[in-house]
């Protein structure tokens, strides 16, 4: 006989399995590409690890946000609460499945990479030297075995970020406001920690390590500390468990406790003194109305992104203040690096936010039933969003670069840097198109990764194939990989291609109302 737990488990599995499937597919595809492209390079495995970890960190946050605010944003929370099952069970099950999704994704990815290496052996491709490099350079701490350390590090960081996002974002109105709250809180924690470090309060490892254990994703920084003093490992474990346990308890206890206030409007029939309020004159043109609306909708997300960028840089700088403060150029570079990397997430989130509300089922009908020109609507939205994204990502970056005295000639020495603007554009457009099609914040975030990378994959793949078949000329061909400059250029071109294709896809989706219909 089926119990209520059975039903609950079935439902949560059903809701999470697609997320698991898409995350695994994307990570494996990404790894496959890197493993294939870099099969002769010695740092290919460390690169797989790094990129995998970089993708997993925001994905962990997104899955956490989905579990925190998903039910409420889809309006299924009242139904769930009407069932005779305690909301704590529901929350605990959700949490369990969320963690399971992420950990299973990690496990499957590891399996995939191992399988790849084994199969590659049959084709006379060996990853042994890269494995050696990984062992040599890889993350330390926790244990002496680098592999285990790497896995532990990933698992702990991802779980920590997931738990923090879910706990902070619980019961929010939708995933985006949950995300804003989560980002602000998590950054606040890191900033406080960095401030304490600066003030010298964290000089002792006994104090620093436990604090890091509790911070979201703190496992990244903790490994070195532990290695230096074995004795505190136990203490760190306990504090980490206690801290995250408290967060889990918060999530489980608060889930579903939403006080829906009866509307606040003044009672009908009472003396209306607000009636004297005037309504300002209307906007001059449809364009200004749409732009105003877009700015009003997006400014919160944009500011959150900006704050996040600044926060991360401050944290990183404070972490090694002696080094950076004396060398402003390095600080500037650090800032540029961080904001460019984090800018990918900012661009993605702004891209989602620009489209998400207007494709939700009810609002979708509202504006479509008015005499609004769909092309005008889309392009004003897209260009406004793009302007916001570019401003929020680049204004602080360029400002910092200028302040620290880095000039364009410095930049030209590092052509890889030009990948970043292309990445931002590609992710912004991919997020827009996926939001229009999937009409769901978390899935749009997950799917924008392949949508953005489709272009560079195709073009780089083509270039490599051309090189191998000798079509690029005798100096570059005959079975060798083309030089880095070509690959970088190919990637940039590919990203710009992704950008254009996704913008056009988003435009068509909005114009012809493509996308996942139905209420949810």
């Amino acid at each position: 006989m089926r119990t209520s737990m059975h039903s609950l488990i079935w439902k949560e599995w059903h809701e999470h399995k697609c997320k698991l499937a898409s995350i695994v597919t994307i990570l494996c595809a990404l790894s496959a590409y890197i493993l294939f492209a870099g099969r002769d390079k010695v740092d290919v495995l460390p690169m797989v690890y790094t990129i995998g970890l970089c993708c997993l960190l925001p994905l962990a946050i997104f899955v956490g946000l989905g579990d925190a605010a998903g039910e409420r944003s889809r309006d299924t929370l009242p139904f769930l609460q009407s069932l005779p099952i305690s909301s704590r069970r529901v929350a605990a099950t959700k949490l369990a499945f969320g963690l399971f999704t992420l950990l299973a994704a990690i496990a499957l990815l590891i399996l995939f990479v191992c399988a790849w290496c084994v199969v590659a052996g049959a084709f006379d491709v060996s990853y042994a030297s890269s494995a050696a490099r990984f062992v040599h350079d890889g993350p330390r701490g926790f244990t002496n075995n680098r592999w285990v350390s790497a896995i532990l590090l990933t698992v702990l960081t991802v779980s920590s970020l997931y738990i923090w996002s879910a706990s902070v974002g619980v019961n929010r109105k939708d995933e985006i406001s949950a995300g804003a709250a989560a980002v602000i809180v998590m950054l606040g924690c890191w900033l406080s920690f960095a401030a304490l470090v600066k003030l010298g309060a964290m000089d002792s490892e006994v104090l620093a390590a436990p604090c890091l254990a509790v911070l979201p994703g703190g496992a990244i920084a903790i490994a070195d500390l532990i290695r230096n003093s074995e004795g505190i490992l136990g203490l760190v474990c306990i504090i980490a468990l206690l801290g995250h346990g408290a967060l889990i308890a918060r999530y489980v206890r608060r889930f579903g406790r939403v006080a829906e206030r009866e509307n606040y409007s003044p009672k009908e029939g009472t003396v209306p003194n607000y009636v004297l309020d005037k309504i300002a004159p209307p906007f001059d043109s449809p364009l200004s109305a749409i732009v105003w609306k877009q700015l009003r909708e997006s400014w919160v997300i944009a500011l959150a992104g900006l704050a996040a960028t600044v926060g991360i840089v401050v944290v990183a700088a404070l972490g090694d203040s002696t080094n950076y403060l004396s060398r402003p150029k390095e600080l500037g570079q650090l800032f540029a690096g961080v904001s460019s990397t984090f800018g990918i997430v900012t661009a993605m989130v702004i891209g989602i936010g620009v489209c998400l509300y207007d494709v939700s089922p009810q609002l979708n009908t509202f504006w479509r039933s008015r005499p609004i020109h769909r092309d005008l609507w889309f392009w004003s939205k897209a260009l406004t969003g793009l302007a916001i994204a570019i401003f929020m990502v680049y204004a602080p970056t360029l400002g910092a670069l200028a302040a620290s005295g880095i000039t364009l000639s410095d930049a030209q020495r590092e052509p890889q840097m030009f990948i970043f603007p292309a990445l931002h554009l590609a992710f912004f457009a991919a997020a827009m198109s996926m939001t229009c099609l999937a009409r769901h914040a978390v899935y749009a975030a997950i799917l924008s990764i392949p949508a953005a990378f489709a272009g560079p994959t195709a073009i780089s793949g083509a270039v490599m194939a051309a090189a191998h078949f000798g079509w690029l000329g005798p100096s570059l061909g005959d079975g060798r990989d083309p030089p880095e400059l070509y690959m970088v250029t190919a990637s940039v071109v590919g990203l710009l291609l992704s950008f254009s294709a996704n913008i056009v896809l988003a435009w068509l989706a909005m114009r012809f109302d493509w996308g996942r219909k139905g209420r949810y």
């Binding site: 009636v275 001059d284 109305a289 509300y357 509202f366 005499p371």
Partner: protein, 309 residues
């Protein structure tokens, strides 16, 4: 023919192998209040979406205010006011802000009128939409649908979920502000008793077809229930257009169309009969849920009532 505000000819629409609408022919004259009745999922919202140009029709032709909604949707929407059931608007905007936002899209927008409506409907301009009550939400939707002086106003079950007092107020607003200005109103609903006092003409949509269209007085005059004996029914059956039959012992209650003709025929036969007036609910039920002929279940043996003595 240009006098019609809405003109549908043999319109059909299929969704995933289900025929949602077929052969729908309907004409709404200008300046009239036209009520469109049907059960839930009868195809009312689909039809309204086609009038606005939001859905493509599969067959037939549609002409709204002389324009084809598929070819010129924007020009059409500028001249139409639309209020949907449970209309959700941007919750973060305030009342004043959404009025300012929607205004530039309509060339005939009358901002003074909009302000006046907001005041008359007692809507607080600085309150955010997500804090409005349901009744206020509907009234705000009405403001947005009226302030640009549309020739035609389409209402898709707008009073859904309002409490009775708000519904009455809504009907009052409809009559004062819409009928009073001579606009054409196309009103879709399944609250029949609400609709009847307000409407001039009524059309009943059932299983994708219009089964009846006429004004309410004529409908009542023509659709009545007759209580006859079985023999009488058998004798005149071929002359009747029967919508519904009910057994009642040895008598049968039939709901028919063309009551005047039937009455004359029965009187001519000299048969004994009783004629019952029906309200709009019963008329509607006869059209959409009526059972005739073989569907009628055999009479159950009734328990005998002891006479009072």
């Amino acid at each position: 023919m240009n006098d019609a505000a809405i003109d549908l000819q043999a319109v059909g629409k299929t969704f995933r192998n289900t025929n949602v609408l077929r052969g729908v022919t309907m004409r709404v004259a200008r300046g009239r209040t036209f009520a469109f009745l049907g059960r839930n999922a009868a195809g009312k919202t689909t039809l309204i979406r086609m009038l606005l140009g939001l859905l493509k029709r599969d067959d037939g032709s549609i002409s709204v205010l002389g324009l084809d909604p598929q070819r010129e949707p924007l020009a059409l929407r500028r001249r139409i006011g639309y209020l949907a059931e449970d209309q959700m608007m941007y919750g973060w905007m305030s009342v004043g802000e959404i009025v300012r936002f929607v205004a530039p899209f309509y060339p005939t927008w009358d901002h003074e009128m909009a302000t006046r409506y907001v005041r008359d409907f007692e809507l607080p301009p600085k309150t955010k939409i997500k804090h409005l009550s349901k009744g206020q939400n509907v009234r705000l939707g009405l403001v947005l649908a009226l302030a640009h002086r549309p020739e035609l106003v389409i209402l898709d079950d707008p009073a859904l979920g309002l409490d009775p007092i708000m519904r009455k107020q809504f009907n009052r607003d409809l009559i004062t502000h819409l009928q009073g200005e001579g606009r054409t109103i196309f009103y879709s609903s399944h609250l029949l008793y609400e609709v009847e006092p307000v409407a001039d003409e009524v059309a009943i949509l059932h299983e994708g077809r219009i089964v009846r269209q006429s004004d309410t007085e004529t409908l009542r005059r023509q659709v009545k229930q007759f209580i006859l004996s079985r023999e009488t029914l058998r004798a005149v059956r071929s002359q009747l257009h029967i919508l519904d039959e009910r057994n009642d012992g040895d008598r049968i209650a039939v709901t028919v169309e063309g009551a005047e003709v039937v009455q004359r025929a029965l009187s001519a036969e000299g048969a004994e009969f009783r004629m019952v007036n029906l309200n709009l609910d019963e008329i509607f039920e006869a059209y959409v849920a009526g059972r005739t002929g073989e569907d009628v279940p055999a009479a159950k043996p009734e328990t005998e009532l002891q006479p009072l003595s």
